[in-house]
């Protein structure tokens, strides 16, 4: 049986440096990640925390940090009881500079791989629905200056509830 692995590719009209900043600077993540602030000093082994307000939702440790090309950290769910029992998984971002047709602007390819899950992982089920929303919002934020608006203020709660419902469905 193959282990669960989530892979998502998107192309963004931005520079590798700006994308790197958007992935690693909490002031930026807060804008497009529906209020989630990322915090780390990004040295190898350093703690990575995902906060909403003062609440730690998820945390991990830096595995690889090669700006502006490759970033990898472990990921443990802290907030949702439902997911707490699982061992940490791994998220890896790869940024590739592309050549645009006109050569007039920078475009990059972003590949996100979230893997190292146990078979049947509920976290895997939840992140598979979550990443496309966050990465679409990231792309909008970098290209237009505005993140995605999804169902206003209640969006995040709704998304979480859907993710939890999906995870329950998978477990049933």
């Amino acid at each position: 049986m193959t282990e669960p692995k989530f892979v998502y590719v998107t192309y963004i009209a931005t520079t590798a440096e700006k994308l790197w900043q958007a992935l690693t600077d909490g002031a930026f993540t807060e804008r497009y990640w529906f209020g989630t602030r990322i915090k780390s000093d990004w040295t190898l082994g350093a703690t990575v925390t995902f906060l909403r307000g003062d609440t730690v939702y998820d945390s991990g440790a830096v595995l690889e940090c090669d700006p502006p090309k490759r970033l990898s950290y472990t990921w443990s769910v802290k907030f949702h009881e439902e997911f707490r029992g699982e061992r940490p998984s791994r998220v890896t971002f790869e940024i590739e500079q592309m050549t645009s047709g006109s050569g007039k602007r920078s475009e990059v390819k972003l590949t996100v791989v979230h893997d190292d899950f146990d078979t049947g992982s509920k976290v895997f089920r939840a992140i598979s629905g979550g990443w496309p929303v966050v990465l679409a919002s990231l792309k909008s934020f970098l290209e237009t200056g505005d993140p995605l608006e999804i169902a206003g203020v209640g969006a995040l709660k709704g998304a979480e509830e859907r993710a939890l419902a999906a995870a329950r469905g998978a477990a049933a």
Binding site: Y8, T10, M98, P132, V133, K139, L148, A151
Partner: protein, 179 residues
């Protein structure tokens, strides 16, 4: 082509989801009109008869057909499903796949889900073509609708060598004829 269409035989193999800041109507328009597809769908134009059973095709800039198929579901602006036969010489014998776009309003945005489904056990090397192409063209569609400009990245036209070899082998052995 003359066989009866049986949607339950198609199994989803590649799914791509994105969220776009616009209306379902705009996404529908972009998927069904050439002035949009020319900009985000590798310069292809689209020809589609707006009804179930209508014909569907995409053409390359030189006018040659790239994709030929039939409209299976036509439910603007929510769901469009078409059979997808690759018209290149080398691919012609392959059974057609089924491409479905689901468009759902989500607050101020739209969730777009593209599902590519197949009626036979397609080798990974053949699926790889779509798995490379869809993220680029759907990222480009999102940019086009949100900023007015598509992604400009030059892609090498034509399928990769490994894919062509897998197609050649599949056409020689026709695994879809096995039950």
């Amino acid at each position: 082509m003359a066989q009866k269409f049986t949607p339950e035989k198609f199994v989803p193999k590649t799914v791509y989801v994105t969220y776009i800041a616009c209306t379902p109507e705009k996404v529908w328009e972009a998927l069904t009109r050439s002035e949009f597809t020319k900009q985000f769908f590798f310069s292809r134009t689209v020809e589609i008869e707006p009804r179930i059973g209508g014909s569907f095709a995409m053409r390359m800039p030189d006018g040659k057909y790239d994709i030929k198929g039939e409209v299976i579901e036509w439910d603007p602006p929510r769901r469009l499903s078409v059979t997808w036969g690759v018209a290149f010489e080398e691919f012609r014998e392959l059974p057609e796949s089924l491409v479905t776009y689901d468009i759902e309003p989500m607050g101020g945005s739209v969730k777009l889900t593209m599902t590519e489904a197949h009626q036979w056990d397609v080798p990974e090397a053949i699926l790889a073509g779509g798995r490379q192409g869809w993220p680029l063209l759907l990222s480009s569609l999102k940019s086009l609708l949100e900023t007015g400009k598509p992604i400009e990245i030059n892609v090498k036209m034509g399928p990769p060598k490994e894919m062509l070899e897998a197609v050649e082998q599949a056409c020689a052995t026709k695994p879809w004829l096995r039950t």
